[in-house]
């Protein structure tokens, strides 16, 4: 079993929103960035993976097992970090840990204490008295303390400062040194993923736009900048997204189509993930 996550043809429909034919996979030992604008369906997809929502069709396999049939065995091996703190606010850090720990078969108390001291988590503080960043650190400590093989992080860094975000990347890099672990990281802050991700899956309006190796993606597209006069209808149709203003245009272009500009004076640049997301938003 090489693929830790295998999603095939999954659909889920709500009032006013539809997740349509979602398919992608993640192999052992890699980090996948799951990007998309707000409301694109990232959180819904993750909830479907965790079996918090029932899918309308398709199938989801985690560790090679069906995610609804072998739910318990699967969740034992997943470390889950949620967007907002979902713990009971009136309990202390220690009490919350005491509630959660017995459910995991490979819980490591020593590891948890280690993370607590590294993160500066005081065991007797009530969860409602923790700052947002500290609550996230607690979630992270819990997710990392039961020898999970798959880490799923659902927008863990929105609203956190760059210093902590950088620290989080370091921790994730350390985790991925073990090639039996994988990480699925959902966010709309693409700069975090720019360096660390191996694979990128871009979701928009409930559909997967692309799912591929990050390097391959960034090598296959270029940002083209030039004079607006160059743009004819034909050229525009070869481009993936154009922004025009008085001073010129900026567009995303597939490397294969780059030759349409061969006779013009243009500047080409490597795109960032953010630019790719912005220009591809109409796909």
């Amino acid at each position: 079993m090489n693929k830790i996550i295998e999603i095939n043809g999954v659909t889920k429909e709500f009032e006013g929103f539809k997740l349509d034919n979602i398919s992608f996979g993640l192999e052992k030992g890699y980090i996948m960035g799951f990007i998309g604008p707000n409301g694109a369906g990232k959180t819904t997809t993750i909830r479907l993976i965790m079996n918090l929502l029932k899918k309308d069709s398709g199938d989801i396999k985690i560790f090679g097992m069906d995610n609804s049939k072998d739910e318990v065995a699967i969740k034992d091996r997943i470390g889950f970090v949620y967007e907002e703190s979902y713990f009971y606010e009136h309990l202390t850090v220690k009490k919350m840990k005491d509630i959660i720990a017995p459910f995991y078969s490979r819980w490591d108390d020593e590891k948890f204490d280690e993370y607590c001291s590294v993160f500066g988590l005081l065991p007797n503080k009530k969860i409602r008295d923790l700052s947002k960043g500290t609550k996230m650190k607690f979630s992270l400590a819990v997710a990392l303390s039961h020898n999970a093989e798959l880490l799923i992080l659902d927008e863990p860094t929105s609203g956190l400062d760059p210093v902590f975000r950088d620290k989080l990347m370091d921790i994730l890099r350390e985790e991925i040194q073990d090639e039996n672990k994988s990480i699925l990281f959902s966010t709309h802050i693409t700069s975090d993923l720019e360096k660390i991700a191996d694979y990128i899956t871009f979701i928009n309006n409930g559909r997967i736009v692309f799912s591929d190796q990050k390097d391959v993606l960034l090598e296959n597209y270029k940002i083209i900048k030039g004079d607006s006069g160059i743009l004819t209808g034909e050229i525009k149709s070869e481009l993936l997204g154009v922004k025009e203003n008085r001073f010129g245009f900026e567009a995303l272009c597939n490397v294969e189509k780059q030759n349409v500009f061969s006779q013009f004076e243009i500047v080409t640049e490597k795109p960032t993930l953010e630019q790719m997301m912005v220009y591809m938003q109409n796909k």
Binding site: Y30, M169, R173, Q177, E179, K195, D215
Partner: protein
């Protein structure tokens, strides 16, 4: 061992790494039998994707510069350094003769060409 990645470079990252590693092996900074960091370790330290480091190592392995011993790691392969150096010198010679031809067509003097060479050496470093 020093590897620096330039974001502004047009070369993809995996190529920058394999170029720099190759360079070190040719100059002798990396000797035969030296152990290289694992792809994951390298990825962590350079803060890049493990697929990138994997690709560089694979390219270098294919060229014969590296060899992977199962379970132990990746090492600098035994190779004929002299032969490689000769290959590289040949490439440089070809490129220089191209440059000389162009210069002659333009009517450039040797001293002017030398000035250009000096300026370029200062720049690329």
């Amino acid at each position: 061992m020093k590897i620096i990645i330039k974001n502004s470079s047009p070369d993809p990252i995996y190529k920058q790494i394999s170029d720099q590693l190759r360079g070190m092996m040719i100059t002798g900074e990396l000797k035969e039998g030296d152990a290289l960091p694992s792809i994951r370790n390298l990825a962590k330290d350079l803060r890049i994707s493990v697929i990138t480091t994997k690709r560089s190592y694979e390219d270098l392995e294919r060229e014969g510069f590296l060899e992977t011993v199962g379970g132990k790691g990746t090492f600098v392969a035994h190779q004929n350094k002299e032969f490689i150096k000769e290959q590289k010198l040949k490439i440089i010679e070809n490129r220089l003769s191209e440059a000389v031809d162009e210069a002659k067509m333009l009517g450039l003097k040797k001293s002017e060409l030398r000035e250009m060479l000096d300026a370029l050496y200062e720049e690329v470093l």
